[in-house]
């Protein structure tokens, strides 16, 4: 443990030492910083450097929970915070399952989440990365302009302690670049298409600027001349980036808290075939390849590998300690926490579909009438994870007779989550670990409705 994390751990320990009799107490303390550089037309548009810190205190007494947080580690304010959390607990409804996590003996799989080199990188070097990304993307194609080229990094340190025996601390850092592009061809009133590219790493040298720039340019240029497709049912091939977003939604339906509260469309279906036989879906934050790999979950329990769907059969849901207690099972190490301002919820940490072997090109070659979906928008408004209705705006390329064809946009693809899982025809071998809680891979889904003209 680094000295600075030890300092946070000591602070968390001091807070829980103040627990009264019959009181469960949790202190979650964190500190972090970030740098963000945005470049536009070769010059720095903005440079942000920031640090923040804070503490959240949770009190559980007689089955009632209260919580209070502050964006400061001022020790004088902490006393006030503890009394607020205690007072807040007085308003809760008694809940026999309320309680903090207790150590479960599952060993932590250590992860390399910190890189010293990034902490020592100068502002000048970070600015140079963003300027270079802007330059590479700008010169690639005369039809493409760069809307913005961004470099960002962040570091965070956290310590959590509870009166139930949890005591975990750690730190993490990372950096990424993103580029947003605009492509147009013809006069000032010509259509404009957009693209984006990114790269992530734990130090500057891991950032692949040429790939980020090339993705940004290609995504925009390939849509030039896009039209609206005609409405019909066809096969979709989801780009890895889109699959990752789809898997995140599926992960949400396998949330143990939604299950115990009667909100999951898969409740009561353990053991049933809910997906095509080729589907094996695993949540594995112990895989160091995952962008969201972690050693412990949001409650301080060891993160672990959980098989959720195997051979199309629903095996289990993910749980944190509260939902597990209610479901009569144990935590799967899936507590997620957004920071010191909130208490943990339940969620998948690093989803992955068991990949196939074929490339996206090979998958496309097997599709007679379809569309390659390059990006989706409106997942937040058109997908209802409780009813299963799925409808999203999309753009991409038509597939005809196994070949990629004309670009299309301003259409939706629709089905239901239940059907889409059953209608998966193929899974690619092109696994891409994206900066999300799910890995990307090309996915072929049959019988999806396209709505256009």
């Amino acid at each position: 443990m680094s000295d600075t994390v030890a300092e946070l751990q000591a602070l968390a320990d001091r807070v829980i030492d103040r627990a009264g009799a019959g009181e469960q107490l949790e202190a979650y303390v964190s500190r972090g910083g970030q740098t963000e550089v945005r470049v536009y037309e070769g010059a720095i548009e903005h440079f942000v450097s920031a640090q923040s810190e804070g503490i959240g205190i949770r009190v559980i007494r007689d089955g009632r929970t209260g919580f209070a947080y502050a964006g400061s580690l001022d020790e004088a304010a902490i006393s006030e915070l503890l009394s607020e959390a205690r007072e807040n607990a007085g308003y809760g409804t008694v809940d026999e399952w309320a309680g903090l996590a207790t150590p479960d003996g599952v060993a932590v799989t250590p992860q390399e989440l910190w890189n010293d080199e990034l902490g020592e990188t100068t502002s000048e070097a970070k600015i140079a990365v963003a300027i270079e990304l802007d330059r590479v993307a700008s010169v690639a194609d005369p039809r493409v302009r760069v809307e913005e080229a961004d470099y960002a990094d962040a570091w965070g340190e956290v310590a959590v302690a509870t009166t139930t025996g949890i005591r975990e601390g750690g730190r993490e850092n990372g950096c990424h670049v993103t580029v947003s592009t605009l492509a147009s061809e013809g006069g000032p009133d010509a259509e404009t298409e957009t693209g984006f590219g990114f790269s992530v790493g734990r130090r500057l040298a891991e950032l692949d600027l040429p790939k980020a720039a090339a993705d940004g340019v290609d995504r925009a240029v390939r849509l030039l001349g896009a039209t609206k497709p005609s409405s019909r049912r066809l096969t979709v091939v989801l780009d890895p980036y889109v699959t990752a977003q789809f898997l995140s939604i599926i992960g949400g339906t396998l949330n143990g808290e939604s299950v115990v509260k009667g909100r999951s469309l898969f409740r009561d279906r353990i053991g049933e075939h809910v997906a095509a036989e080729r589907i094996t879906l695993v949540d594995d934050p112990t895989n160091p390849d995952a962008y969201t790999a972690t050693d412990v979950d949001g409650e301080g329990l060891a993160a672990r590998r959980n098989v959720l769907i195997e051979g199309g059969q629903l095996r289990q849901f993910v749980h944190a300690s509260y939902s597990a207690r209610r479901a009569g099972t144990v935590s799967t190490g899936n507590a997620v926490r957004g920071g010191f301002r909130g208490t943990p919820g339940v969620g998948c940490l690093a989803l992955q579909l068991k990949p196939g072997t074929r490339s996206q090109t090979d998958l496309v070659a097997g599709v007679d009438d379809g569309v390659l979906v390059q990006s989706v928008h409106g997942l937040h408004s058109g997908v209802n994870p409780v009813s299963g209705d799925f409808s999203t705006g999309a753009s991409g390329l038509m597939i005809s007779g196994g070949a990629l064809g004309a670009p299309v946009r301003e259409f939706t693809i629709a089905s239901t989550l239940q059907r889409m899982l059953l209608d998966v025809l193929e899974i690619g071998g092109d696994v891409d670990w994206l900066p999300m809680r799910a890995a990307g891979v090309s996915l072929v889904i049959g019988d999806v409705t396209v709505s256009g003209t």
Binding site: Y69, E147, G378
Partner: protein, 473 residues
Amino acid sequence: MTCDVGSVDPVIDHDVVQRVLSTAVRSGAEFAEVYAEDKRSTSASLDDGRVEQVTTGRDRGAGIRVVAGDTTGFAHTADLSEAGLLAAAEAAAAVATAGGGGERTVVLTRSPRRPVNVVERTPDDVPTSAKVELLTRVDDAARSVGAAITQVSAGYGDSRKRVLVANSEGVLADDEQVRCLMRVSVVADGDTGMQTGYQSMGHTIGFEVFDSVDVTELARTAARQAITKLGARPAPSGSMPVVIQRGTGGILFHEACGHGLEADLVAKGASVYRDKVGEQVASPLVTLVDDGTMSGEWGALSIDDEGHPTQRNVLIQDGVLTDYMWDHLRARKQGRAPNGNGRRQSYMHLPMVRMTNTFVLDGEEDPEEIIRATDHGVYVAQLGGGSVNTASGDFVFGMVEAYLIEDGELTDPLREGNLIGNGPQALRDIDLLGDDFAMGSPGTCGKDGQGVPVGTGQPTLRVKALTIGGTAA
């Protein structure tokens, strides 16, 4: 000029602000700004019949911005001591230096306060038990609608944010922003699976809002919505006329053109509305306004987050584009006055051009007539969220509650889905506009990773063709 010193204690002492700004511009930067906030919030959640948790929080800090040429440096700190602020000012100034140098003293002139929102009962003065009681009333009311209601979750939230903004051009303004919010989500279970209902209300006034808004009616509406949808059929697929109920459709304008009228996106060529001022961009029926002064509404503010008074800005008049929305930097570059649309999520964020309350003014049609005039189409009683690609103009938004229109009458309820369209085309395709204007539910608008509260509104209207993203032929 008389100043209403009011009851707002300064978040930072004015002499300190003046010294921090003078430091920030010492190396030749042409503009510096301090934005400080002190925010207290309370939230309470009820789910599965239990009041799960009451949370209280405090966030306090300052963001300092320094501009030299086209470069902005920004740093924020939770340390509001003079030393903490000076350190942030130095960090912000580190990249934004023009090399001019020399001492420059900033003289601040306090702007008179002009409160847009009148708060009667500050939520801090209301006992927590009264807030929690609202939740149990919501739960009871939703469950009373029918046995099909199997789950209810409700959330209460309030906040009080004291703000101070000062800049090197002498602006010194402060404000106190109070918000109260209630939302309810309901699940109904039937033979066809589960369906959901959702309602929310939010205002920039105090706890007195709950004297005039009946939260139990909010709950019953959400419950009825979920139960109605148990009998819903799949939404159609393809292009057809869409009638949107008053209040809920403001999000259409927010997405179809609001974002595209933000001057920062326009300046980068990332808007289909670039170079279109003075041109007909919408049906002549459409007059679109963004108004931060609409008292009590979710996007209402006395000052924007750059210290400028909010105002009523007409963006589209009778279908002709009249103006974009501006923040301080974009307006300054154009040599024009900012119009109160510079906003940010918190002291940890840079301001940018954002909407406040965006709405379309009344037309002349009877809303019932609009439905009767439609042979075959979709009636959307409640829209969900949306999003837009401002460069291409393509937008989507979700239908939370919708019905089929057949022979001029509402018939079957429809399952959920997205609608998709292209902004300029959809604006031209508005062919009927009602006379029943209403504001809608509170929204959180996301842009570049920042969320800010916004309001939307509109009378009942018809778009002659939008694509419905369902599955039914």
